[in-house]
């Protein structure tokens, strides 16, 4: 990693590639989640596949975790270096005059997402790991939908998820198109990339928020 940390441009490429990788993951995760609203059967079978396919479990999942770690660790490194580069701060600094809020506060939207990931891991990942590798409970391809809906019974969790999706939206609003600039892409397609970024960063987080709220409002009653 030290070689990567050496050049500012290389650091940005690491940030961009890991960020884009997370964007792809976010999309795939969304497609699975939305089935929990549309068709619980499909949600169960896809979730079961993701949970028990060895390729997903032992190759893709570690890559994903590594991607998240690389992204936020590099985010911290950049933030520390950038703070240092200013040295003495201005008495008056009008950041809003020349740059959008979202672009100046990536570290804060990122930190909220990181905190959310902590809760999200605790909610689902730790639960799964305990189920499979600690308690060695039998495979049950029909449990996922119900478990998911139950998670959203408490109002506080639903609200925390929804607030986090707002911050995710802000993070992507700048981050998605920014990663293309970091990789040297600034050409006739850039206007299109910017439009797509805005659509994506609204539609996907809004969709996630809708799913959380939907399950909160539609509990399973036996």
């Amino acid at each position: 990693m030290s070689g990567l940390i050496k050049s500012s441009i290389a650091r940005k490429v690491v940030m961009a590639l890991s960020g884009l990788f997370l964007v792809v993951f976010l999309t795939q995760h969304f497609v699975i989640n939305i089935t929990s609203v549309i068709d619980p059967e499909t949600f169960n079978s896809w979730s079961h596949f993701m949970g028990y396919n060895p390729l997903v479990q032992f190759i893709l999942q570690p890559i994903l975790i590594a991607g998240v770690i690389i992204h936020f660790v590099m985010g911290f490194i950049l933030e520390i270096q950038n703070k240092k580069a200013r040295g003495i701060s201005y008495v008056k600094y009008k950041g809003s005059a020349n740059a959008p809020w979202v672009s100046r506060n990536m570290i804060y939207s990122g930190l909220v997402i990181l905190a959310f990931l902590g809760l999200h891991f605790y909610d689902f990942w730790v639960h799964e790991m305990t189920y499979k590798y600690v308690e060695f409970l039998p495979e049950d391809p029909s449990r996922y939908h119900e478990e998911t809906v139950e998670k959203f019974a408490p109002f506080w969790r639903t609200i925390i998820y929804m607030i986090s999706f707002v911050l995710l939206s802000l993070h992507l609003w700048h981050g998605f198109s920014s990663s293309f600039q970091s990789m040297g892409v600034n050409n006739k397609y850039s206007a299109g990339i910017k439009i797509f970024t805005k659509l994506f960063s609204v539609v996907i987080p809004l969709g996630y928020a809708f799913i959380a709220l939907y399950h909160h409002l539609n509990p399973i009653t036996h």
């Binding site: 201005y90 950041g95 005059a97």
Partner: protein, 248 residues
């Protein structure tokens, strides 16, 4: 008009420095910002006080020497101009104006509002040149035909005056816009190809060594640049950097 000025005073590079309040009356709206400071300095001198040191040279927007952070923005509230091109008509009677030096670890304050920008010189020296002989022998400028749009883009990059407003504006004090302009002006032209790979690598290395920050693509530099240097140059420099790194 009457102005309430808050100005950074610092005795020398090692002194601590602080903001000092000044009230200045009788400022005309058609004065330039630097003339306003000249008048303040006249007053200070006649009172036997030390005048405020600030950088300036051409006073016509071409040398890039004038460098003031005015009310939180490099070169003040207007865009596409330097401080020497800023006029007092951009302010109102009774305004408070905060004047500070550029702030960047790589631009240490020498005195008052003057900062040391030799970091930019060292980035230039690391590769911002071409090694062709410039003998007295007249060579037709058009001996190597270059498409107009390419010549124009290279010329746009070459208009960078090295003022440092991009660094001053950037929340990370990044020098990517300056360095990319200096890389682009050669990268686009055939004369720049010989040293292209070394140039970008050496200039970026020097930029990092000087302690400038990383780019977050906020675009603040492009908005504050008095010459309208575009972010496209940064993307171009990144591409140049990748292809140079791949070549080894």
């Amino acid at each position: 008009m009457k102005l309430y000025l808050k100005i950074w005073r610092q005795k020398d590079a090692s002194a601590k420095g602080q903001m000092v309040d000044y009230t200045l009356d009788g400022v005309e709206s058609d004065m330039s910002f630097l003339e306003m400071l000249d008048i303040l300095n006249e007053e200070l001198i006649s009172k036997g006080e030390e005048p405020i040191e600030f950088d300036h040279d051409c006073r016509e927007g071409i040398c890039g020497t004038c460098s003031l952070q005015i009310n939180g923005r490099p070169h003040g509230p207007d865009t596409m101009i330097t401080v020497c091109q800023l006029h007092m008509r951009s302010f109102n009677d009774g305004d408070e104006i905060v004047i500070e030096p550029w702030r960047a670890k790589a631009f240490p304050v020498i005195k008052d509002l003057i900062v040391d920008r030799t970091a930019f010189d060292r980035i230039q020296q690391a590769g911002g040149y071409i090694s062709v002989n410039t003998s007295g022998r007249p060579v037709d400028a058009n001996a190597i035909p270059i498409e107009k749009h390419i010549a124009d883009t290279a010329m746009d990059a070459a208009t960078c005056i090295g003022c440092g407003a991009c660094v001053a504006a950037c929340k990370n004090a990044s020098a990517m816009l300056f360095t990319s302009a200096k890389v682009s002006q050669f990268a686009l032209l055939p004369q720049g190809q010989v040293e292209a790979a070394d140039r970008v690598q050496n200039m970026v290395r020097q930029m990092d060594l000087e302690g400038f920050g990383n780019c977050t693509n906020t675009g603040a530099c492009e908005i504050e640049c008095p010459k309208g240097i575009s972010l496209e140059n940064i993307a171009r420099m990144n591409r140049e950097y990748f292809s140079a790194s791949l070549k080894g």
